[in-house]
């Protein structure tokens, strides 16, 4: 449990005059569910985007599984083993659920252009395997019956699940979920919680950004709290919950109440 998977070393990100992240350092251990919480605009998603290569940080670096993570190139980050989902779901809308997951296998397949043109054995075998695995993955997240539905026609909760399935298809070591429970009802949230537990049990480390404090506190092994782009706490949920700075960040200080 105590092997470090990801280490963020004083990450900073500036947008013009706005300092979105200031020296954020945190460590995610292999096999845990790590929560990243904070009020709106605290810099959670920015951190996420810097980590997954969508933004280049102005300072600091990530050490992932022992070596430095490339910045600013999302596909290279995924290749190293970090997959992500989006806060506002981003599926391939004109593709079926199955194809979405199959597209997720792109990175871990290697049929060459020539192989595809002559349809050699490797290509055919790989294509069959991809289809099979994609079905398995849909079953894993529980939407196998919708395999042939266009992803834009899926229900909201199923779209979230599909996005997770697609991310898992890239065979990540770290799965980064950006507010997966946003907009979900109580049942869907409970199911999501179950799914995340299963994913963890299968050996994938999970980084969870979440608004739903109850979900985070119940699910995460450790939690970090961001406020105004700075980390103000990092510990097990029960300790973080009692941290006065955290309570102040969420509820406002008594000073303001006067």
């Amino acid at each position: 449990m105590s092997i470090t998977l990801l280490e963020a070393q004083s990450i900073s990100k500036r947008f013009g005059g706005l300092q979105a992240l200031t020296d954020v350092s945190l460590t995610i251990r292999k096999g845990e569910v790590y929560g990243l919480i904070g009020p709106n605009g605290a810099g959670k998603t920015t951190f996420f985007n810097v980590l997954t290569g969508a933004y280049t940080p102005n300072g600091g670096e990530f050490i992932f599984a022992g070596s430095e993570l490339p910045t600013g190139t999302p596909h290279a980050v995924v290749e190293r083993g970090i997959a992500r989902t989006f806060q506002n779901i981003r599926l391939f809308r004109e593709m079926t659920a199955l194809e979405n997951v199959m597209a997720g296998h792109h990175l871990r397949s290697d049929s060459s252009l020539w192989g595809i043109l002559v349809q050699n054995r490797h290509t055919r075998e790989e294509e069959r395997l991809i289809t099979e695995r994609a079905y398995e993955m849909l079953r894993y997240v529980g939407i196998e019956r919708h395999a042939t539905t266009l992803s834009r026609n899926l229900s909201y909760g199923d779209q979230r699940r599909l996005e997770i399935a697609r991310a898992l298809a890239t065979e990540p070591q770290l799965l980064a979920l950006d507010e997966p429970a946003a907009g979900m009802n109580a049942t869907e949230t409970a199911q999501l919680r179950e799914l995340i537990s299963t994913i963890r049990a299968d050996g994938v480390t999970v980084l969870l950004i979440e608004h739903d404090v109850k979900l985070v506190m119940g699910l995460c092994d450790r939690v970090a709290v961001l406020n105004f782009g700075k980390k103000i706490a990092e510990d097990v949920p029960s300790v973080v919950q009692k941290n006065p700075e955290v309570i102040e960040a969420y509820l406002g200080s008594s000073h303001h109440a006067h």
Partner: protein, 366 residues
């Protein structure tokens, strides 16, 4: 092929197998029927096949990868001029077609990459404007590269291009079988072109249902998400541009050998737009649709021309509407009616995996 068969009204849905035979038969006997109506019609059919190839290539860029390309005709020009340089008296070179055609395709692919690099970050309208400019640049180059060194012979073009010779046969000559019966060279060209079209369809079909095709579709649907699942969008886009251009290059080479003459005016912006219209009209991303779009929009204007000219002569005593104007009028009318009646094209693209029979097959395996 299957998609074409399904498109036949009534029969397509009831008896797909019979419909397929009908399509096959039509493809084989079309030039023979056309011969009866005169050589012009065979020539028109030959051009229709070239347009099918162009539309298929452009569809790869626009329909699969979602990159709007308004300068596609430039690759056609590259292919045609490659043929003109390497197989004509212009430079005194007469290389064989199996060398020239791949070279033309290769040059076109390079041109595709040259176009691709600067436009990697552009999307939609901006991409369209830059590609449009690229197409014009190529044409203007062809128009003006006759001074100080005469490379392209300028607006006069290059003529006396070598024809296609297969296995020692120059197929631009009629092949005499008996005294009275000769195989028309235009018909021969038709079958050669048909072979190339079928080859293109097979290649494109295989690309479409591969990891590469899925990568393109992912970029088309959501580029950010495509990056987030590890697709190297830069490489995939360049691949789309260069592969799309390859088909343009091959079609261009065939055009050169068929026509025996190339000049810059064959590669105007209007041609780019016409090909794009065929793709959009038929149904972006659907191979059957694109083929039908290309055939329909290259045949209809010719039919209209052969009808409209005599009618105008009869009615007014002189020609009021030029055939070229009529063609553009028809293309724009086709687009307007398509937008009103079938906004996704004649045959909209549908996902391969949305068909139940494939799903059941997959389930058994899984």
């Amino acid at each position: 092929m299957n998609e074409l068969a399904e498109a036949i009204p009534w029969l397509g849905s009831r008896n797909p197998k019979a419909a397929r035979h009908v399509v096959l038969a039509l493809m084989m006997i079309a030039p023979l029927i056309a011969v009866l109506c005169g050589n012009t019609w065979v020539r028109i059919l030959d051009f229709a096949l070239l347009y099918v190839m162009l539309a298929l290539g452009l569809n790869l860029v626009v329909g699969f990868a979602g990159l709007l390309d308004l300068g596609y005709i430039a690759f056609y020009a590259v292919g045609a001029y490659t043929w003109a340089f390497l197989a004509s008296p212009h430079f005194g070179l007469h290389l064989p077609f199996w060398l020239v055609l791949p070279l033309g395709a290769g040059f076109a692919a390079c041109a595709g990459i040259i176009l691709g690099f600067p436009v990697l970050r552009l999307r939609g309208d901006y991409l369209a404007i830059v590609t449009l400019g690229f197409g014009e640049i190529v044409r203007i180059f062809m128009n003006n590269l006759n001074y100080p060194i005469n490379v392209t012979n300028g607006p006069q073009g290059i003529n006396m291009l070598d024809s296609l010779s297969l296995f020692g046969w120059d197929i631009s000559r009629h092949i005499p079988i008996t005294e009275n019966f000769k195989i028309n060279s235009l018909v021969l060209f038709y079958y050669v072109f048909l072979l190339f079209v079928v080859g293109s369809v097979i290649v494109i079909r295989r690309l479409q249902i591969s990891r590469i095709g899925r990568g393109w579709a992912a970029i088309r649907d959501d580029e950010l998400a495509a990056k987030a699942i590890g697709i190297n969008t830069r490489n995939m886009k360049l691949l789309a541009f260069s592969l799309g251009a390859t088909f343009g290059g091959v079609a261009g080479g065939l055009f050169g050998s068929f026509q025996g003459f190339v000049s810059p005016e064959s590669f105007s912006l209007m041609e780019s737009i016409a090909i794009l219209t065929m793709v959009v009209f038929g149904g972006m991303g659907n191979l059957g649709g694109v083929i039908i779009g290309a055939v329909a929009l290259s045949l209809l204007p010719e039919i209209l021309r052969s009808v409209a000219l005599p009618v105008q002569q009869q009615l007014f005593g002189h020609v009021i509407l030029d055939p070229e104007v009529l063609r553009m009028l028809l293309l724009s009318l086709a687009m307007i009616f398509m937008m009103l009646l079938r906004p996704a094209g004649l045959m909209p693209a549908h996902s391969r995996y949305s068909r139940p029979e494939l799903v059941i097959a997959g389930k058994e395996k899984a």
